[in-house]
């Protein structure tokens, strides 16, 4: 009798505690207060403020008059902005078009080599750990039009080199080359993980049906890794869209503005600070594109944070 009562009491106590545990006491949001305060201060308030700034006329960093959407109108109709948009699109899509196949191919090659491949893969990850300042400096030196080894090799093969990064015809392509070198390891790691999760039975099924390597890739590998390929592409699109440092180091937006992207333009306008309203409007545009890409990413992966 008393044992039954004790059990019942213990059960009641446990359920009370579980309820308290689930609700987190009286003020569960207090646990979020520090991080929310930090994000409000550093991210949310400046975000609201840049939207506010973009609706004003400015002189240096002073807001002088409210002008509504005039800055956006000026920006979207200017030829400079059109060129910059084109550069951004070329840079983002150009980099992705190369980095995905290179990274995927690297993953397949290293995966096929067992233990040795795993060791080599660790080595191949090195570029991704380096900062954009370091990667930019190394490639600036590799591509030096007078002394660089890349220039030397190209000249030996009688490929025209021009001024390399100083040449409006080649600059963006060479920045993309450095971008691919730096970020293909990220694709490689993601694709390795995806490849290892493909069920072996599917390959065996293709074997039974008499399919070769191409059929295996086309009908098993590709469909299986497509979701991961998509989310990797989105992550990198966001990264490339907002990337500045590599361009600062390699070209400074030149020559003749051929490597000036939206983000680089915002950086330059911030540090020169002549008239920041157009830069504020451009910031809002980058922000909106970024949020759209981020939202697609979340829909695709169900991941709660980028």
């Amino acid at each position: 009798m008393s044992a039954g009562f004790a059990n019942a009491a213990a059960a009641w106590l446990r359920s009370r505690i579980r309820m308290r545990a689930r609700n987190g006491g009286d003020r569960p949001w207090l646990w979020f207060a520090p991080v929310l305060f930090l994000l409000l201060l550093v991210t949310l308030y400046p975000t609201a403020f840049v939207v506010w700034m973009s609706l004003h006329k400015t002189q240096f960093f002073q807001l002088t008059a409210f002008v509504g959407f005039a800055n956006y109108f000026d920006l979207l109709t200017s030829t400079t902005f059109r060129d910059i948009s084109w550069n951004s699109i070329l840079y983002v899509f150009g980099s992705i078009a190369f980095v995905l196949p290179v990274g995927l191919f690297a993953a397949i090659a290293f995966d096929a080599l067992g233990k040795v491949g795993a060791g080599l893969r660790v080595m191949a990850l090195l570029p991704w750990t380096l900062s954009m300042s370091v990667v930019g400096s190394i490639w600036l030196w590799m591509l030096n039009p007078t002394f660089g080894p890349a220039t030397y090799i190209m000249k030996s093969l009688t490929i025209p080199t021009g001024l390399m990064l100083g040449d409006p015809r080649f600059a963006l392509a060479l920045v993309i080359l450095a971008t691919v070198w730096w970020s293909f390891p990220y694709v490689m790691v993601m694709m390795s993980a995806a490849l290892q999760s493909v069920p072996v039975e599917l390959y065996e099924a293709v074997d039974i049906d008499g399919g070769g390597v191409v059929a295996k890739f086309r009908y098993v590998t590709l469909p299986q890794i497509l979701p991961m390929l998509g989310s990797t592409a989105l992550t990198l699109a966001i990264l490339y869209l907002t990337l500045v440092t590599l361009i600062i180091v390699m070209t400074g937006g030149g020559p003749l503005g051929t490597t000036t992207t939206w983000s680089f333009d915002i950086f330059r306008e911030t540090v020169t600070a002549q008239n920041v309203a157009p830069a504020a409007a451009a910031s809002v545009i980058v922000l909106i594109v970024n949020v759209i890409l981020g939202a697609v990413y979340v829909r695709l992966t169900g991941r709660v944070s980028a």
Binding site: L36, A106, S133, T146, F147, V189, A193, L241, T270, V286
Partner: protein, 281 residues
């Protein structure tokens, strides 16, 4: 040789060749940087380029380490990297714990707010943040750099901590509550030791992120005494005429040694951190 072995050989040869090509692609620029850093300033700009330094000299490294601002730049890099990780963990641990353990009205809204902030790119906040810091007289302030860098790491920290805490059985918390422990005690004394490997992974990724960052420091703390190794490196490259390539390459390597070492020691966590939760389960 069996047919299977023959087949695997045939498969492996292209794999070996491609792997070799990738190793060359990755190692080429790194070897060139290392080689240049071991040359004299004059030999570094020989054409055609020579891969082996002759004479081999550590002069560029000596110059880097004895430069008058090197110590302060190194100190700032370490300060910002560790400071931002500490602040991100201080604010991220309670939130991540609460996100994993408590269920209350408005939690989804809080988590969505944190998610939304992670989608705001740093570059879009350059203009307003510069304006605000300038008007408050807070440019060139170490603490401000730490706080801004910590805010970049915070959403990811919350998310990671939430996932790590979720792997710990909730019965552990309940048993401790029965014994009269408070929630903060449970987090610090019970949960934290259990999720230590995860915390180490967050710390490693966060430190590398802040260490490698150029923009935040370059724009908000350009002062010589507040800048980092990354900023100092880029400033050398800007000086197109006075640049010494052996010095710049030595500087690049020195500025990368800490992240490369962290990476080599913690590469399992590094890879786990990259791939964690990227595909819908």
């Amino acid at each position: 040789m069996t047919i299977a072995a023959q087949q695997s050989m045939r498969m492996r040869l292209p794999a070996w060749l491609s792997a070799a090509a990738f190793v060359l692609f990755v190692a080429g620029p790194l070897v060139w940087a290392l080689s240049t850093s071991l040359k004299t300033e004059v030999k570094a700009v020989a054409f055609p380029p020579v891969i082996l330094p002759d004479p081999l000299t550590f002069q560029a490294y000596i110059d880097v380490f004895t430069h008058k601002t090197f110590a302060i730049e190194l100190f700032n890099s370490v300060l910002y990297a560790t400071g931002s990780v500490v602040v991100a963990l201080l604010v991220g641990l309670p939130a991540g714990y609460a996100a994993a353990r408590f269920h209350f009205r408005g939690k989804n809204f809080l988590m969505l707010t944190i998610l939304a902030t992670s989608m705001v790119p740093g570059v879009a906040l350059l203009v307003p943040t510069y304006y605000l810091l300038d008007s408050l007289g807070l440019l060139n302030n170490e603490f401000v750099i730490i706080v801004i860098s910590a805010a970049r790491l915070a959403p990811q920290t919350v998310w990671f901590v939430q996932n790590f805490v979720a792997t710990v059985p909730v019965e552990i918390d309940e048993a401790a509550l029965v014994d009269g422990a408070t929630r903060p005690q449970i987090l610090v004394r019970l949960i934290l030791p259990l999720i230590r490997p995860g915390i180490a992974a967050i710390a490693v990724l966060g430190m590398i992120t802040t260490w490698n960052d150029y923009i935040t420091v370059a724009v908000f703390a350009p002062d010589t005494l507040k800048r980092t190794l990354q900023v100092a490196l880029v400033n050398q490259v800007f000086d197109a005429v006075g640049i010494s390539w052996s010095y710049t390459m030595a500087f690049s390597i020195v500025a990368s040694i800490p992240v490369v070492l962290i990476f080599l020691f913690a590469q399992k966590w590094f890879v786990a951190g990259l791939t964690a939760g990227t595909v819908k389960g």
